[in-house]
Amino acid sequence: MQSSIVFVLLFGATIASSCLSQGTTPVSTPAHGEASGSTLQPGQTENTAIVANLVTLYKANENVPGGLEIFQHPVTYVTQIRNAANKAAQPAATAANNASVANAVQNRTDQQTTAPAGTPSSSSTTSKGSVPSLLSFAVESGALTQSVNGTTTTVQANVPNVIKAINGTKFMSFYRSEPSSPLAHTLSTTSISASFNTGSSSSSTSTSTSPSPFNSATVHLDLRNHRDPRDLKWFNEWNNLSNNQLQAVANNVPNYEQTLQQQMPAEYAQWTTEVQSELTKLAATKSLTDGDISAAMTAILSDFETQLYSATAQGYVADYNKALQVYAAADAAVLDKISTSFVFSFEYTFVNQASVSLPKSTTQTYSIGTTAPDLSTFNLIFAGGDLFGIKATLTANASTTVFTAPSAQLHLAPVRDYKISGELDLPVPPIAGSKKSTIDISGLFQDLIQEPLGQAVTVNGVSVSTRGNIWLGQGKWEIPIGSTGITIPFSVTGSNRTDLIKESDVRGTFGISYNLDSLFAKQ
């Protein structure tokens, strides 16, 4: 160990070298967001998307009393034209994301899907604040979810999934009770996971050619988690949205339609008659198919475009469209607030070391075949976002790992280590036409009281076997260069142990390395 402080400025280092990898960078992309500059006009190929929206809308409303009346209103077509435009304007990745989730919780950044930090197979040093709960796994039909990481398979269970697997009706009832039932809410965010070895593993401190199948088990409990738009905590937000921006939308509906009736009475009357004719035909059709609905909606939309959505008529809808745009922005802000609200969690992890044979120790001697006691890790997790009003997000962990029993042959203190770690993600707005980026600042302090016999302790991807205090800080920024699509990874790392600095070019206590390959490769 070198006690001096080393700073490394690394150009070209990959972000994968982060000392505190946290999985995906928190990104909030509300499904309801209004794409800027969406200018879809009727008659374009996107009409297919508009008709698809209308078909979905018809099927959703056909069994609702009076639900099909919405098709008598021009605003319905204006709204779906806008919805189709927004969807078309979204980046492919965002659209795909929205398709699967479509709301605030879709981008819960606190979810952890692999073995929690601290378990032997984990690549994370900072656990996220919330496990995948009901909302992210409802699409799966099984009571257990499974993930594979290297030679370790992790299965995870939570109460909602178990209920769902057993009885779909009770699951629906349970799901609906969540917003008003603290017990249901707590159960929905509690999970149990277990990891099993499915192959041989090794580490710098321990090896085993035939590890025990049972690797570790974790219980995760969210002590505070309001990242559900149904949560009563958000009542005022939804109420304000309803009474302001959505009320403005409602105010413009009769205004727009009365304007059409006054300015284009003949066209309006003719279109209304045609709509009623098409709807009547659909109502009379036995064994209605999507094709039938699509044909009718195509005809209605075509008539709407021709008669009520001319260049002149589009002027009449400007106020309504403006109200929709303002509403969409306000809606996105509410969803963003929900998805970045802070989560406080507790996590307990048990690690089985029964079959881990120990290598040579630097501090003591023991006979071959000696095994280390099992480990227990207690971890408090904080995850929150929108800090400082710039949508910065913070994830912080405070944990301790203890041996679960004294060893007959090993001289072990009960507590193996204490650890505090955190990561702050600061969004950087686009610079000179470049894309948005994120600066990640992370830090870790660990008091390694006991030589980690058995499960390895890793910091910045490096196994640590020497006792003592460890601190490490790192800042990372993948700098986008204009609109070229080129990025230059940049990181700064500081630690009281040089062996934790992964860069090769370290000179004394200060090191610099350059790697601008990504820049030159494009030229």
């Binding site: 499904a31 309801h32 929206n53 979905t56 809308l57 959703a60 409303n61 609702v64 009393p65 009076g66 639900g67 009346e69 919405i70 008598q72 209103h73 605003v75 709204t79 919805n83 969807k87 929205n98 699967s100 989730v101 479509a102 709301n103 605030a104 919780v105 009901l134 909302l135 992210s136 796994f137 409802a138 699409v139 769902k164 629906m172 799901y175 609906r176 917003p179 559900d228 738009p229 149904r230 009563l232 009542f235 939804w238 109420n239 949205l241 309803s242 959505l246 009320q247 403005a248 939308v249 409602a250 105010n251 509906v253 009769p254 339609e257 929709l324 509403y327 809606d331 509410v334 969803l335």
Partner: protein
């Protein structure tokens, strides 16, 4: 209050109408034309799954009250449903013997807000 076609109602002078809007799953996200054309809202109450409000119809025959209800959705990811369904129940406070009239607006995920316009004509 008597329901006519296409969200139109026939009402008596100064008839008081109560509108209760309920959503099958929270959050409740609905806006109303305010004030309604030809009247004002009264006795407004809101919960996380419903809204209750009343209005008084004009006193003169031929006059009308018109308003729109715009409904949106905020369906959580992975929810076991993909559509928010709002049920609107119109009932007469003045003439309680008149049967309540139900209307509805379904909002599929990502396809809102959707609006209905209602008109009450004084006979």
């Amino acid at each position: 209050m008597k329901a006519l076609l296409h969200n139109m109602f026939q009402v008596t002078p100064r008839e008081v109408i109560r509108l209760v809007t309920e959503i099958d799953n929270p959050p409740f996200v609905a806006g109303y034309t305010t004030p309604p054309h030809g009247s004002t809202w009264a006795k407004e109450r809101r919960t996380n799954t419903s809204d209750t409000r009343e209005f008084t119809c004009p006193n003169t025959s031929g006059q009308q009250v018109t308003f729109a209800v715009s409904c949106a959705e905020a369906i959580p990811s992975g929810a076991p449903y993909s559509t928010a369904v709002y049920t609107l129940t119109f009932s007469s406070i003045t003439n309680p013997q008149d049967s309540p009239v139900k209307s509805g607006i379904a909002v599929p995920q990502g396809l809102g807000p959707n609006s209905q316009t209602y008109t009450f004509i004084v006979q």
